[in-house]
């Protein structure tokens, strides 16, 4: 088998991780949408208090951490399928990782300022 630097890791871990993180995000999404719909019309104090609670901050961070892992597997799948030149693929993979890292950093900044 030809093993590329920019190829898959030929394992079960990413496949499983993508599914577990998907379930975590799905559960968070349903709860978050439920809270927002229950508090209509949404006011600033309610919105602010929601994200001031420890569990909501941790849950949101868990969501974005799941997103980071999930989206990395997905983006890499897409790049492996459609971008054939190795150099370009590696460049796009690095840019994707930088974007994912900045999403994580930004989220922490928003939640704990």
């Amino acid at each position: 088998m030809k093993r590329l630097v920019t190829g898959a890791r030929y394992g079960l871990r990413d496949w499983l991780a993508q599914r577990i993180t998907a379930v975590i995000m799905a559960v968070y999404s349903v709860i978050a949408v439920g809270i927002v719909l229950k508090n209509q019309p949404l006011t600033y104090p309610v919105w602010k208090d929601l994200f001031a609670q420890g569990w909501m901050r941790v849950a949101t961070l868990l969501f974005v951490a799941s997103l980071a892992w999930h989206v990395w597997v997905g983006v890499r799948d897409i790049l492996m399928d459609y971008v054939k030149p190795d150099g370009l693929r590696l460049t796009l993979e690095v840019l994707s990782l930088l974007l994912i890292a900045s999403y994580l950093g930004w989220t922490i900044q928003i939640l704990w300022r």
């Binding site: 599914r19 998907a22 379930v23 799905a26 999404s29 949408v33 719909l37 209509q40 600033y44 919105w47 602010k48 994200f51 997103l67 989206v71 997905g74 983006v75 897409i78 994707s96 974007l99 999403y103 930004w106 989220t107 900044q109 928003i110």
Partner: protein
């Protein structure tokens, strides 16, 4: 005598026009490619957009009001509709794939039915949640 099938040019290479106009995807194929497209859109630009809105709306009372007013813009509403559709389709199609992974619903007939359900559910949820923007 040469049969009709023997005259066909093989192998057939896929060109963009062939992909767009010649090949007709079955419904599960549409769910699959839309799952990819919606996933890519959610990664960029929608995740960045969502973080921007979360940042501004949590930052201050004025920021919260600014996002309120922001939602009145037609272009923002349109963008939000696409965002909501991408999320809902990706969500519904994802649940279908989780069941397929467990070997549930892999028969052709069932797979087609659940594909239609996913497409319909994605659009219905978009309509339901999108209606709240107006």
């Amino acid at each position: 005598m040469v049969s009709a099938s023997a005259k066909k040019i093989r192998p057939k290479y896929l060109s963009l026009p062939a992909l767009l106009f010649e090949i007709r995807l079955p419904v599960p194929g549409w769910v699959s490619i839309l799952h990819r497209i919606s996933g890519a859109l959610l990664f960029f630009p929608f995740a960045a957009w969502a973080l921007y809105m979360l940042d501004t709306s949590l930052g201050s009372e004025q920021g919260f009001q600014a996002i309120r007013n922001y939602f009145q813009l037609a272009l923002v509403k349109l963008g939000m509709l696409v965002f909501i559709w991408a999320y809902c389709h990706h969500f519904c199609a994802g649940i279908r794939y989780l069941f397929l992974d467990l070997d549930k619903g892999v028969e052709l007939r069932t797979a087609r039915i659940t594909s239609w359900i996913v497409i319909a559910a994605g659009l219905a949820l978009t309509a339901l949640l999108g209606a709240r923007l107006w």
